[in-house]
Symmetry: C2
């Protein structure tokens, strides 16, 4: 089975012994706390560890008391919309964005208005015109942006665009939700700065996660915001708080920081990412171009417009090759000529064997023999 | 500190070694699953264990695939209202009910309409008249009932009332949400049957929890419903699923069933319950009557109408005695002459010392010297 459908972490590098030791010690030290509720912020030790994570990455102070642990960043994505929107309200986001966000926001009745994405991320240069077009009646309740290692495209929002985004949002008094859930799955180059590190704008809502650097089964994410806005958002939280056991175990695991473990895991992920990118460059240069992300769990693949997508799904299914169609990530579900490969959990040899399979399926699903008309994802 | 405010389990009886072993084995066996998502139902092993728990208690088959693990039953309480109501919609519940439910439903704009509670639970005999009074325009979207060891009153809904409740709900086509989160904190007598064990009515939504028999810090509860209704409710769930680590640990802990451990914990809780009931009977018979629940984590205390509740709060605070005022559990926040004592986490000797303190505060907070005008909670 060539399973590239869902964004998952690497089962080969789970720190099994470390988690076992952490669980033993956390249960020994904090068993009494398991019999209690811990409010809407959650485990103090994990909040401190996550504040330290953010502070060390971003070079600014982060107050653990402005950080609320969530059941994965997905709870935070949903909660922000629950707290800040009513059905019919508008939200600005990238035209291509996380399928989970699209599903949640659609179900909540949010009217998603997209901005195109290019190699430098969201086209922030188009934002003001879009806001003018929407007018006061449809003024967005917030701007949702996957700023770094964007899902699905893999691009980073350029620093000048980050500054421009904050500047416009502040002038127009619109909250910005920065979803940085892939932020520490980093392979190459500089880490792009988080918005909160660039500005003291008090309506930046920052979401992050441990799902991508440790495992989604831990369901540990967080939301970080200035006190007034944090209060508004947490007033809509009615789940009696997050999972204390999981938080205690991971706080113990990370008691000396997140970086050593994270970097070791990223090494293995970078190998997988390169196997996808190089594999498709070698086996499929005639039928696709790919992203080459500097982080994250996905490669975004553009194929010719003449590919019959129904046929592609059938052909790949016959050969046990699974991927996520581009339409899943388009805010209006349009059948765009892209697909997403999630490589994090796929063994190296399966990636090696899989790329020629995908290339051949793409070839067979074409309805013409024309040469590629594009050289990059965004031509 | 005499801390009787919040419903918590007993830190003295947490199965520390059992949890440590379970964590070690769960991480060893299921580390790869931690790198994955597990859908809206959640960990198969814990669902099987919880289906077995329900089936063994209730004597009917329970399908684990109709059971969705939740982040505590509180997530389920909230989710049901999110899925089945719009702001302004009506829900029927007991006039006294769980403060967390009241807070969540109020925040969601639910119009809670109460039925009185007596020694046999919700006054189901008044339900039809209430429904007629509400009419079609305010027809309730569901009936929410804490059927067993009701929080805060401690009463059980009598079996004939359970049957009557189902009968009326079925005839009127109204879903019934049975919140049985205290169901296995059992001290004496028969366990009252769950509604789903009495009827095949397809709009019974059953909520249960491990927070009360193991610990709220585990955030493990579940929702059990027939497939059509389950689908409707889970369509509103957007948190990428429950906590797999906590579920795996507890599934391992309960691999041979829940009863042995539960009964051991209940032994200790029953001692505490009796210390509260007997302690107030001895020290405070002139100023209060109490419930004597056959299960659950609370004793409900009725005091004379002439108690100055502000003064009572001040006096108890001065003596480091904390309790939950009755108003917290009244759906409209009325300052009723009741208070709730949560005894689960209070050491036995603190309970012994605390009851005379409470009795004395009640005495001092009275504004008259009249004899008690009531002999029971519900006169």
């Amino acid at each position: 089975m060539f399973d590239f459908a869902v964004g998952r972490t690497n089962p080969e590098t789970v720190p099994v012994a470390g988690l076992q030791r952490a669980a033993r010690d956390a249960i020994a030290n904090e068993y009494a706390e398991l019999t209690d509720y811990h409010g809407k912020l959650g485990h103090p030790g994990l909040r401190a560890a996550m504040a330290r994570r953010e502070s060390e990455r971003e070079g600014v102070d982060v107050d653990p008391d402005q950080l609320s642990l969530m059941n994965g960043s997905m709870q935070a994505v949903t909660l922000v919309a629950e707290a800040l929107t009513q059905p019919g309200d508008t939200v600005i986001c990238e035209e291509f964005t996380y399928s989970g966000t699209i599903g949640a926001y659609r179900a909540l009745g949010v009217d998603m208005v997209g901005l195109p994405v290019d190699a430098n991320g969201m086209r922030v240069d188009l934002l003001e015109a879009k806001l003018d077009e929407l007018g006061q009646a449809r003024k967005p309740k917030f701007i949702y942006a996957l700023t770094t290692y964007q899902n699905p495209t893999g691009v980073n929002l350029a620093v000048d665009r980050r500054r421009q985004l904050i500047d416009i949002a502040r002038r127009r008094d619109i909250p910005v939700v920065e979803d940085n859930c892939y932020g520490d799955v980093h392979f190459d180059g500089d880490k792009p700065p988080a918005l909160f590190a660039l500005s003291d704008y008090d309506k930046i809502i920052y979401l992050c996660s441990l799902s991508k650097i440790l495992g989604p089964g831990l369901r540990l994410g967080y939301l970080y915001a200035k006190p007034d806005l944090l209060d508004v958002i947490l007033a809509r939280r009615h789940d009696a708080g997050g999972n204390y056991l999981a938080a205690a175990v991971v706080a113990e695991l990370y008691k000396d920081g997140v970086w050593e473990l994270t970097e070791a895991l990223n090494e293995a992920l970078k190998v997988k990412k390169n196997l996808v990118v190089d594999g498709l460059a070698e086996a499929g240069a005639d039928v696709c171009v790919t992203s080459n992300p500097t982080g994250g769990l996905f490669v975004w693949v553009r194929f010719p417009d003449d590919v019959d997508q129904g046929k592609l799904l059938r052909l790949t299914a016959e050969r046990n090759f699974r991927y996520a169609p581009g339409a899943n990530f388009h805010i209006h579900g349009e059948p765009v000529p892209y697909l997403r490969l999630a490589f994090g959990h796929v063994p190296d040899d399966v990636i090696r064997a899989g790329m020629p399979v995908l290339a051949q399926c793409l070839r067979e699903a074409r309805t013409s023999n024309e040469a590629l008309r594009f050289a990059t994802l965004f031509d």
